[in-house]
Chain length 208, copies 2
DNA sequence: ATAAAAACTGACCGTTCGGTCAGACTTCGC
DNA sequence: GCGAAGTCTGACCGAACGGTCAGTTTTTAT
């Protein structure tokens, strides 16, 4: 073959192939079917070859999780540190989250099992990513409290509730294979929480 | 020995001993350490004896999960079908949930992994219990909507959000080993959702 | 006391799976 | 064309685990 081999690019290409195989396997047959043998088979290479690219199973799974979550994490971070108002940030956050899910339904099936995946490989890994998301959301809420657009609440706790509510809707969408527009679900979460966070003064003034 | 053996009671006692051993193991070393050998060792009997009481590992784990969840499930059901107003039911639900968690912290560590445990044993098992909880909560919300104390929302979706928010706070309590009174956390969830569910009319009238 | 019945034991088996490595195969430089 | 360097292979290994059962111990009935 005349095409270049041996390059970092080519190597990355092969790594991608393996990762895609892992994702396909996970989506099609669940985590239990992701054995190194099956991964190799799905990729179309021998088991030993997988070990030329990843030290062990844990490293492979972490790589898969990282590439799968990277785009979402990045987008969410952009939203959280942006210049919009706290209300708009929360609305944007949940919408992005659910939209990403709809775009990559198969991918997200893995993420729903993330806690399990995480526990299979080296524990507290996911905690960092999750904690960052909670922390970022909490900062937005705290900002809203400071600006008097939210009433005074424990930001971290509400942030956790907000994220988990979003995940809950994502879950519902997946299980029910719901044809509901993403926007509706995103609006539901945002409406509940923004109304729930509205300061008493605003509630007295009345809603739009 | 003069004490009675062979009785159903005595058998139940032995089964309890095995289940307690499973819970101790889970709490102390995580799900991965729950092998039949370790369970037997922890109970103080031989592996084969465990199989005199449970057909296989799956049956044992299901029994453990059932006994652990039964009291909570029962209490929550009482609340959900009771005569109180929808608002009070939701408040009572989240309070019971978090209180039960505080009472049996160790036990609940398992419940947090329930999804994983479930997946390890025969899949959709937990789905039923979870679905019942969601359905019950959704009925309460639907009732509130009918009585015009809640605004018109998708009851099932909000129910899922409500439960997951509760779980989120429970999680926070566990991770942070928070000394916060349970009542405060329960109130937070309830406040957010009740405010979020309040009909526009009520918001115009103003809050207490 | 004794024998039948019941309860218990733990060595053993089969399977699964992560990881290894000696050798086969491919590519590259000359 | 040829040998060296790099790449790939899959048979193999050891550990872990769920489950079994022939044999041992304990309990019960007489």
């Amino acid at each position: 073959m005349a095409s270049p081999k041996n390059t970092d690019l080519w190597n990355e290409f092969k790594r991608q192939g393996i990762q895609q195989a892992v994702i396909r396997l996970m989506c099609r047959e669940g985590l239990k079917s992701v054995t190194m043998e099956r991964v190799a088979q799905e990729t179309g290479i021998a088991k030993g070859t997988v070990y030329l690219h990843y030290r062990d199973k844990q490293e492979l799974l972490e790589a898969v999780k990282d590439s799968a979550l990277a785009p979402l994490t990045e987008k969410l971070h952009e939203i959280l540190v942006g210049a919009a108002s706290p209300e708009r940030k929360l609305r944007a956050l949940v919408l992005r989250y659910l939209t990403y899910f709809d775009e990559k339904r198969d991918l997200f099936r893995i993420l729903l099992y993330e806690r399990e995946v995480t526990r299979v490989m080296g524990e507290r890994y996911q905690t960092d990513r999750y904690r960052n998301l909670i922390d970022g959301t909490a900062r937005v809420i705290r900002d809203g409290v400071r600006k008097r657009v939210f009433r005074n609440v424990d930001a971290r706790h509400v942030a956790a509730m907000f994220i988990e509510s979003t995940v809950a809707l994502m879950n519902q969408r997946l299980l029910d294979d719901s044809p509901r527009p993403v926007e509706d679900d995103a609006e539901l979460v945002a409406d509940i929480f923004l109304a729930g966070l509205a300061p008493v003064a605003a509630r007295r003034r009345g809603a739009a």
